[in-house]
Symmetry: C5
Subunit: 254 residues, 5 copies
Amino acid sequence: MDIGSIVGAVLGWLLVFIAIAMGGGSGFFNAPSILITVGGAIAATLIHYPLPQVMAVVKVARKALFVKEQDYMTLYDQLTDYAVRARRDGLLALEGDIEQLTDPFMKKGFQMAVDGNTMEVLRSVLEDDLAAMQERHIVGQGIFKALGNYAPAFGMIGTLVGLVAMLQNMSDPKSLGSGMAVALLTTMYGAMVANLVALPTAGKLEQRTMEEVALKTMVIEGIVAIQEGHSPRIVEEKLRAFIPPSIRQKTIKD
Amino acid sequence: MDIGSIVGAVLGWLLVFIAIAMGGGSGFFNAPSILITVGGAIAATLIHYPLPQVMAVVKVARKALFVKEQDYMTLYDQLTDYAVRARRDGLLALEGDIEQLTDPFMKKGFQMAVDGNTMEVLRSVLEDDLAAMQERHIVGQGIFKALGNYAPAFGMIGTLVGLVAMLQNMSDPKSLGSGMAVALLTTMYGAMVANLVALPTAGKLEQRTMEEVALKTMVIEGIVAIQEGHSPRIVEEKLRAFIPPSIRQKTIKD
Amino acid sequence: MDIGSIVGAVLGWLLVFIAIAMGGGSGFFNAPSILITVGGAIAATLIHYPLPQVMAVVKVARKALFVKEQDYMTLYDQLTDYAVRARRDGLLALEGDIEQLTDPFMKKGFQMAVDGNTMEVLRSVLEDDLAAMQERHIVGQGIFKALGNYAPAFGMIGTLVGLVAMLQNMSDPKSLGSGMAVALLTTMYGAMVANLVALPTAGKLEQRTMEEVALKTMVIEGIVAIQEGHSPRIVEEKLRAFIPPSIRQKTIKD
Amino acid sequence: MDIGSIVGAVLGWLLVFIAIAMGGGSGFFNAPSILITVGGAIAATLIHYPLPQVMAVVKVARKALFVKEQDYMTLYDQLTDYAVRARRDGLLALEGDIEQLTDPFMKKGFQMAVDGNTMEVLRSVLEDDLAAMQERHIVGQGIFKALGNYAPAFGMIGTLVGLVAMLQNMSDPKSLGSGMAVALLTTMYGAMVANLVALPTAGKLEQRTMEEVALKTMVIEGIVAIQEGHSPRIVEEKLRAFIPPSIRQKTIKD
Amino acid sequence: MDIGSIVGAVLGWLLVFIAIAMGGGSGFFNAPSILITVGGAIAATLIHYPLPQVMAVVKVARKALFVKEQDYMTLYDQLTDYAVRARRDGLLALEGDIEQLTDPFMKKGFQMAVDGNTMEVLRSVLEDDLAAMQERHIVGQGIFKALGNYAPAFGMIGTLVGLVAMLQNMSDPKSLGSGMAVALLTTMYGAMVANLVALPTAGKLEQRTMEEVALKTMVIEGIVAIQEGHSPRIVEEKLRAFIPPSIRQKTIKD
């Protein structure tokens, strides 16, 4: 479960509600204004992206926020352990362990190595897998970025609709203030949807993708190095480069 | 027929019309304002892009919205079936099927393979085809993006024209409000054209291009792998990487 | 002569003038405002780009608007015709035709091929030529893009000068409106220069460059394929990929 | 200790405080406004980036500002000295010096060279290290850039909250001015956080990363050239290219 | 001496001063406003870039404006002359001329060629040199671009400080206009610093870098082609591609 995202979301909305409460509190909630801003942004995103991908985005976001963080060190220990045993007893000695693996990507890679595929075939199949995954993730980020761009635009459209309506009915100058206040609400909602929901979620998805790419690249390089029969020392050096130094220094004693 | 685009377009315009109706309803339609915003954006796009390409853009957009979505799984089944038969009976055994193919890209590729062209020639001709297609599609997206940039600009020009006219004839302060309301309409139209029509359509075209590139790349890799005589298992692995996991998991049982 | 650019320019300016005429007509022309906006944008562009290149830009723009459009099909027919004859009679049989060629790029390429240069030398010299041409064209586009960025900036500077002057002399509140109207004119001019002249022209130059690159790449690939002695069928396949499908379908019967 | 950053920070804040003092002084500090701007920007950044990385960013920034600047010339002298000795006495003669090295990157590289690893393995391990470092640094810059983008956005949200509150309670027109003043404060804070803290720090981190990459690339090229047994003259030529010319001219006499 | 930059700078400032003079003239100069805008932008740039590089930027800008323009044709004549003589008398015949060369880059390249270094070593050393030069120039451009981004930001901060001060002291409504006029001055200064100084200078530096890269690439390709013993005709063809066609057509008769 991603604590940072929860802390950030709670903190952000709390601050906005405190600011609203200090500003008098009432009159900041306006259902039609929310409808035009949020609904308009979703409508534009539906035209922009294929329907199945927009519908899949909730699942993608949930995964970004609730899936437990991957662990560089466990992966490092596992791969270097395999390297030592493969060097000592041969690749086939790993066959039993490989069948227990839960990560399908790693399982597939080691199975191909044990099956005797050449390093070129192995690397090409795994890198194709990784590239295809990246391409699909980019769509998920793109949907949130699109929401983050369309929300302020529809906020502005809503404000313009409100301003035009207000300016055309200026018979009662006293209502001017409240009319303008309502008009500005959509701009405010647009900025909030963009900066508290859509853009940060797009960013988190991007970070997750990068992390997953780093971990999967570590797996590819590890399998290839093991298959090529490099010494465990070289495998360790190669893998260690993928671990962020903060994690590395805490756990590896050189 | 692309349901998402239709749902999005209907929803978006409906929301804007509801907002307008709630704002009083009348006075939001102004023919000259529409003319300057939409006409100006089209005029700038005509200078920007060659005439034949601007005129072809309607056909391109219709294709993006109404052509039925391609199907990864059918293509996957077809290519893996060919791989099995080519491995068993030789490439020439596919000759009959190839003549029945409706997709010109795939037909051309398999014909070249059957004709005995080397893998290098085959890949180079098909990749040139694909690259040329991409380059042409990018022009279509570019035209909608240009419309999406010029529309708000001409909306602003229209608003400035209106403001200057209003400020120069301030004899009657009562008309100030309605003058400003009319002036703001072009900005509103510009934002609507950009965010409900031009930019989302450009986005959908981009998605379609990416999907088509993914499918055609899958075809190229499949033909090359079949021609090289890889085992059906390797061909399957290679092709599966191009299928989005959501589709894959629903239909392939590992 | 590029009809699209002319239609676009005439239409765009017409619409703006109609909008102005409807807004009262008088008072929209202000010589000093034009001077600060257009002059300032040109001044900044002169600092930004080398003088000879800024002075050459008028010629570049005229070429983009008035040079007749290149013809994919003529080039395709010519190259495939050469391919057939070179295959039948040898490359030297083309020597007479090559001397008649008017396009210096194609002439140079075929002369090098006939002179017996290797494919590597030939491709490297022609691709260097093409890359150098592209680099020079990018400067032309850059100048119009710079104009399109500086014009709104100087429009804003002019408006700020006008606003400050107006606010400092508020003795007569009646002149407030007309003072502000004049101040806003420079912003309007800036947006018009950018969106009706500079940015669309930069875009048209970019399209022309892309078209020229596509045609010249087609020439390079054609000459190399002919020199390598590929069969006319392969040469045709390679060249056809460079032709936009709309043109292709109208004229080639598969 | 980076003098430029300190001079810049002191100068920037001083200027802003002088401007505030000249503007009357009081009323520019508003705790809730600071909370919504700074707190909101941090909240959005927490959703955007993983928690450990956001928490590590303070350490990263301190390192960028307080770590002493690296020295091209010392590194150059050291590497060329090693090149001379390795050429004369063989690589193993360096073993004693290598154990004294404090820079872990350089130590690892020379140890691998002395251990007889091939040039390919050596270069690949060190370049992986360097690429992984770059990828991690980019996250640090990204966090400050995100802060620099979210701070003005939350400044605008705060201003909109203030404006809406003010417009809804216009009973006392006298309070209008001060209400609007408070509303504008958040926009001002947002611009200050972005342009005096977040964006310049992101920039400094980027510069530091580039410098570190240049120095580490110099180390890689130096080790590889020494291991390959190039003449000291060639090693010198290769290394000199990495030194900025201002430093180079002061110290090297050609 | 770069005439274009001088003409542009004089013209730009003249136009702004004329506009100011027409606006009444007095009250447009405000020392504290200049201080916050220019000083703030410099302060942020000092945090952003290392101190030595910010201090070197004046020298860099002077070089961009006052160093005489390089000459493609002289370089072309010199290199083709060398090509003819090297083909006839051997590379060593050039030794005397090489010692007279004033351009250190060209001298170094020819000396390495004469010393019998292989083409790979030669190209790699010179291209490293060129890449390192480019990287350093990019910092110079970056500093002016940073100034061009921070100046409008501090202009806006200054305006917000002025507006808040004005709104808090609205006791005298008559001073409202002049207060707002002073507040807007910083925005105006920021736009002027950015669009008349910083951004165009960054652009000119970029153009100069591109020109220098083109000339140095021409030198590299020339030396390599001469060393490889290509015929003078091929060397000429290769070099000619680097000359802009406007210069080429004036001076070379094909």
